[in-house]
Every structure is written in structure tokens, then in C-alpha cells.
Symmetry: C2
Subunit: 192 residues, 2 copies
Amino acid sequence: MIDKLIARLNGLHPMSEALTERIRSMVWITDHPKKTILLKEGEVNNHICMVASGLVRSYYINEGKEITSRFMDEGFIITSWISFYTRKPGNEFIETLEDTTLTCVHYNDIQKLYEEFPEFNIIGRKQVEYSFYMAELRTRMLRKNTAEEKYKFFLENHPNLLQRVSLKHVATYLGMNEETLSRVRSQYHKTH
Amino acid sequence: MIDKLIARLNGLHPMSEALTERIRSMVWITDHPKKTILLKEGEVNNHICMVASGLVRSYYINEGKEITSRFMDEGFIITSWISFYTRKPGNEFIETLEDTTLTCVHYNDIQKLYEEFPEFNIIGRKQVEYSFYMAELRTRMLRKNTAEEKYKFFLENHPNLLQRVSLKHVATYLGMNEETLSRVRSQYHKTH
DNA sequence: TTAACTGCTTGACAATTGTCAAGACATTTC
DNA sequence: GAAATGTCTTGACAATTGTCAAGCAGTTAA
């Protein structure tokens, strides 16, 4: 499991043996059954975890309703970025949608890595660049005008996710309600 | 003008004299009158520029209409991130809304800095982290349900911008049309 | 097995937002 | 200065989306 994480980091920038070993000593693995809350609103997100296997979603409450902000499957980093970055309690929840295995590193350990291995900043930079890039793509979806365009965008960008996620969550992710998504789908799949 | 940029980078992480001098040798300053197109759809964004003074917006075309994606005033980085990151032609335009002075560094020079000064990766990482954080806040706005909530969010987060930007652009930024924004404003300011 | 619950769909209707058109006013251009 | 252009507003109406309610199939729990 740790090897997956190491491989991913090496893919961003080749790491020295010393750095690799240091990371190995810091990483821990955790298993969580489906429907486990990993982070609650009001908590500070103190570690960065990668999904080794499984599926996770993050969401927050707006006007009393859950708004799904992101789905994270294998290889993706699950972190409530605003909280992790600001070091303050965030308002995001993170929960598992399937049985999930995570590989995690503590915030303090990440900072140590940045200090002890300057080249780890290259990896940190590239990872944040990638996360930012993905976030920009998601934002593009939210700027689509119609429910159908949003659904189409989702189909194109997450073709595999539809089988694993309930439509209720997809709907709030796309910024519409469950019923609208249902209608858009039936309309869309008639003509495509 | 360059001092502003240097000060900003020092604020992210103190830089050595050598790094500072290297950066000074790479930066150039450009002035652009109001309504200048700085980047066109289909071009690769090959440099990172900071607004030293003035105001800029980025936008793209969706279904034939301009969608404003961001406003950037003093101290902010103007870069079409998706294009800069992927090194491919993007679909964003960038234009000045006021007479603007920019301090710019070329993509290749940035990469040289990353290689020659490993500690520059700390600055790069922190800058991207900050940009990402700001982008996440903007995304939160897009997930607001009603036009009024979006307008309120804009008022709270960019209180000074409303005097400098035409409402047409604010409207597309908020994901609504001009008329709706106008109505929301008249409604909102009656009761607040 | 029955009961409760979840996920998804559909219908009727309400609320919100978009579209098209027009006009007032300010600003720019020639 | 006159004309053209741009900004903002308002009205009437259309389209889209949300809300509330109900129902059905499949799953879970007792």
C-alpha cells in the first residue's frame, strides 16, 4: 500500500533513497468501512491522506443541505484544503462511500519533509499544482449554464463514477437537486 | 516596481541575495492601457505576471457568451492556470480593465529558478497553495443557491471591486445575467 | 416474513432566472 | 456638438429549476 504512495510521489519527481525511507517511516495506513466520517465540520484537517483503494466524498452544509464538493477515488488526495492550508477549523465533512484504505502523513511531518529535504518542495509544489488544475476543471463545470451541460460534463470527466455514487450526491455536486438530475438524465439518455 | 514583486516573494519565504538578484535579472515590466488583450484564446500562457498596479480580468467563451472567471488587482498573479500548467493552448482571454503595470517572468525562467535554487520551490509551492486556496473560495461562491447569496458573497469578498468593474462583468462572474444582477441589487439594497 | 428505509422517478405547481425589448443616462468618438 | 456606443434599469413573458408529494423497486433490519 505504501508503495503506491511512493510510486505516485516518484512520478512527480524522482526521490532519493533517504527521502523515500524518511517518508516510509512517517506514513501510516488505515482502513475504514463504508459510511465512516473521516473529518467533521469544525475540525482542523491535520493530515494528508491518499486513497489507496475505495471511494470518498467531501461535503459541507449550506442552508441546512449537504453540498458535495468532491469525489475522491484511488490515487487522489483527500484533504479539506481550506482547513489544511489555513490551519483553522473548516466546515467540510469527509466520509467514505465504499470500504476505503488510506495512506496518511501528518501535517507536522510534511513540514519536516519540506525542511529536511528541500527537493521535497518540488513534489509538494507539483502535487498542489495538479490539485489546483483539477479544481479549476471542476469549477468550469459549475459555470455551465444548464443542468444538462453540467450532467454532460460529469459524464465526460467521471464516466466510471456514476456506477459507484448515488445520484443524490451527484446532484448536489452538480449544483442541482435530485429531481432535476433525474429528469435531465431521462431526457438526455433518450436522445443520446 | 520590481521591488513589489521581490517583497511579495520574500513574504512567502525569505530569499537569499543570490536568488533575489537572479530574479531581478529575469523580471521585466510592461505597461498596458485599459482594454488591452494580454492573452487570447488558443495561446499558450508562457509567463507569470503579477499586477503591480491596475486591474485585469480573465474570461472565456461559453455558448457564444463571455464568462468572467476572475478579477485580478494589485498583488495578484494573472495566469491562465490551466494553460500554464498543461503547456497547451488554453481557452481563456485576459484583458486589462484599467491602465495596468505588470511584472513578468517567463515560464522557462521559472523552471530555471526551480532547478538552480531548490528553495525557490518553497516559494512556488506556497504561491500555488495560496492561489488554490483563493480559487476554492471562489468556487464556494458558485455553489451558492440563489443569485442574492452570490451577490452577497461578492460584496463581502470584493467590497472594493464593485466601484471598478462594470456590472456586466460581475454578472457573468457570478453566473447570472446582467438583468438578474440588476434586479438582485435593487432588491438587496432596499433591505440592507 | 414483515416492516422500515433508501434510491430513484414522476407529476403538479411555484419560484427563480433568462430572454427580448425598450429607454434613460453617461461616455466616447469623430 | 452630434452621433454612436456603452452601462444600467425596467417590463412582459418564457424557460428552467426547485418544492412538495406520492409511488415503486430493491435493500436492510428486526
